[in-house]
């Protein structure tokens, strides 16, 4: 049966079902046993499963990440939760010198089922450190999967898939999506890695994005519709592996690609994918892809600072409209 629940309830449901069905799954992280349960996403788990499976930890993110990885080597499936993704930078050695490379360092004979949940704090007044979403740092390393669920349906399905995977997976969650509702099956299910989803069909321009920016993209596509532009909106969902097929198919149809990102301008998914689409559809696209990213600076705490810094549906629609308005000639293949 499917019913409407919030993003955080979907995470909670996935975790509960995993822990009920898999004794090797346990939850670890700062404050996982908190009474408010990381904005509801771990609420009641301590009471239900006890302190052996819901482990609050000392403020030692790096070693504890390594410790969770050690337990994975003897059969456990830890879910390491960071209520603020910023603290994942404390774990870079454990995550990427070890966890990401453990399969390679054992001649691909040893699995490393390790899941990290990192919550992007963007919201009211979070300021310089607590609003960032630096997922490209993680996605750079081979050996790690990175996903960014947008809907409650994805939040449940991708977390479940992450925990059951035999390799490390990092789940990028957005705090601003936690209270959003969506249809989620009650049953246990997983979603495939490397698969995007078309949120809205269109024929003039492909607009791809991930995580919280998709809300703005859907609103922007409404505004563009009023101007007579039919936009196809794609939820990339899986950062690594990413879904090239869905992009290629869509851009082959529309000839125009916009990718909106949730992080700074350089070295991100928008850059990576626009480059790859350019490589594959060089002579078919009507104009070079448009990348919509955050400025190369840090956001301040004030509302004005946030308003100037982040994109809105209106600013996105306007940029896309102007960009499409410029006449471009198809490029010719080299003779």
């Amino acid at each position: 049966m499917t019913r409407e629940i919030t993003y955080s309830e979907a995470i909670l449901e996935a975790t509960t079902q995993l822990m009920e069905g898999h004794p090797e799954v346990y939850l670890i992280g700062e404050g996982v046993d908190d009474f408010n349960g990381l904005w509801g996403s771990t609420k009641g788990l301590y009471e239900k499963f006890g302190d052996q499976r819901v482990l609050d930890i000392p403020i030692s993110e790096n070693a504890l990440t390594g410790i969770a990885a050690g337990s994975a080597l003897v059969g456990f499936r830890p879910i390491f939760t960071h209520q603020r993704i910023d603290f994942m930078l404390m774990c870079m050695d454990a995550l990427f010198n070890n966890i990401a490379k453990w399969q390679a360092m054992t001649g691909y004979k040893q699995n490393m089922p390790f899941t990290a949940r990192g919550i992007v704090g963007r919201g009211w007044g979070q300021s310089v450190q607590h609003a960032q979403s630096f997922y490209p740092v993680f996605a750079h390393f081979p050996g790690v999967k990175v996903v960014a669920p947008y809907s409650p349906y994805e939040a449940k399905g991708l977390l479940t898939a992450a925990v059951l995977a035999e390799e490390p997976v990092i789940v990028i969650e957005a705090r601003s999506l936690y209270s959003k509702k969506g249809c989620v099956p009650e049953d246990f299910y997983t979603l495939d890695f490397g698969k995007g989803e078309i949120l809205r069909d269109g024929s003039d321009v492909t607009i791809a994005g991930l995580s919280y920016i998709l809300e703005d993209l859907l609103s922007a596509s409404d505004l563009l519709k009023d101007k007579g532009i039919s936009a196809e909106v794609i939820n990339l969902r899986s950062i690594k592996p990413f879904d090239m097929d869905i992009l290629i198919e869509s851009v082959s149809k529309t000839g125009n690609l916009v990718i909106a990102d949730i992080t700074w301008d350089c070295f991100n998914l928008a850059s990576e994918l626009s480059c790859r689409v350019n490589e594959q559809l060089f002579t078919e696209i009507k104009r070079p892809p448009l990348r919509l990213t955050l400025p190369e600076m840090y956001v301040g705490a004030s509302r004005e600072s946030e308003e100037n810094y982040y994109m809105s549906a209106e600013s996105i629609a306007k940029k896309i409209f102007c960009w499409l308005d410029q006449p471009m000639q198809k490029r010719q293949a080299l003779q």
Partner: protein, 335 residues
């Protein structure tokens, strides 16, 4: 506290002769294997950097004596001694150094990334200190499974300067994990002496104790001392599930990462090396055994010859494989 003495262990009293003979063989296997590695290195078929253990053999031989097959060992970049003392197949180790697929890590890891799950070595990180967290996590896994295995971790004095050391010992102490930390204090970290890294009077055992981890310092060049401490402590860890630290004071004869000696370099004098060679752990035991008539000179020579023949045969086999058959059998990259 650090310097307490244990009563003579049961094994030592009942089966002293057999016991010492076995320890001698283990140390000789490590020594002869590594001397051969050093000798063969210029031939070029050993294809990775090596960190040799010569001079420290009593630590691995003494500790591993009281570990059971189902126990776990976490080693580090200087891994050969621990691997061999755990009964690891020397042929697979030599093959690994030659980059062959038949190596213990499929030829991918080389000397620094030993994988031997049959010996409880679940993978090896070369990043100093990180193995401390992995081994502590294995201890957490053992505890969560309610098993009575022990997770032994070998670390150097340099690793005690990493945050991993403090974070992991704190957690092991807090959760009463069955972990044995074996600090092989050779006073050298690459080409840096302990005096240039720590204020005088800083005591590794005291650091452990201040974190709630009991500790003892032993002569790491005396296998009987190491074994005696190990027997009591490992039994205590197994029975009571609590972490313990053994600091074994010893010395590395060879260069940090080199198959050769490094006489004439700035960080240590030839005199210092010669003084430590007088305290050779193998000579110390062999002298004791011959003087106590446990073993004759002829028998000692015979044991040496047997091991030498075994090791020579191993390296001949490796040499015969004309080309390295190492293949990267990694799964294709996610994208």
């Amino acid at each position: 506290m650090s310097q307490k003495k244990f009563k003579k262990g049961i094994t030592l009293m009942v089966n002293k002769s057999t016991f010492l003979r076995e320890r001698l063989k283990t140390m000789l296997r490590i020594r002869i294997f590594e001397e051969k590695t050093s000798l063969e290195y210029p031939s070029g078929y050993l294809k990775c950097p090596v960190h040799l253990y010569i001079g420290q053999e009593a630590v691995a031989a003494g500790i591993c004596t009281y570990l059971e097959t189902a126990d776990y060992v976490t080693t580090n970049h200087r891994s050969h001694g621990h691997y061999i003392a755990r009964g690891g197949d020397m042929l697979k180790l030599a093959a690994e150094m030659a980059g062959m697929e038949s190596g213990c890590t499929g030829g991918i890891g080389g000397s620094q990334h030993i994988y031997a799950p049959e010996s409880g070595i679940m993978g090896t990180s070369a990043i100093v200190g990180s193995g401390i967290s992995i081994g502590t996590g294995i201890g957490l896994g053992i505890k969560m499974k309610k098993q009575n295995h022990v997770s032994a971790i070998f670390l150097g004095d340099g690793a005690t300067e990493e945050g991993y050391f403090y974070e992991s010992l704190n957690f092991a102490s807090l959760k009463k994990l069955p972990v044995l930390y074996v600090c092989e204090n050779n006073s050298l970290a690459t080409q840096s002496r302990i005096e240039s890294r720590r204020a005088s009077g800083v005591d590794i055992c005291k650091i452990a104790e201040s974190l709630g981890v009991q500790s003892i310092r032993v002569d790491g060049n005396n296998v009987m001392d190491v074994a005696e401490a190990a027997e009591t402590i490992i039994q205590k860890i197994r029975n009571e599930s609590c972490p313990y630290l053994i600091e074994a004071v010893t010395y590395r004869w060879m260069g940090h990462v080199s198959p050769y000696e490094d006489y004439g370099v700035r960080y240590r004098t030839q005199h210092e090396i010669e003084e430590w060679k007088k305290k050779c752990p193998i000579k110390k035991l062999a002298d004791y055994m011959t003087q106590s008539s446990i073993i004759s000179n002829e028998e000692y020579d015979f044991i040496c010859k047997l091991i030498k023949d075994e090791v020579d045969e191993i390296f001949e086999k490796i040499k015969k494989v004309e080309k390295s058959s190492a293949k990267v059998s990694a799964p294709s990259t996610p994208y």
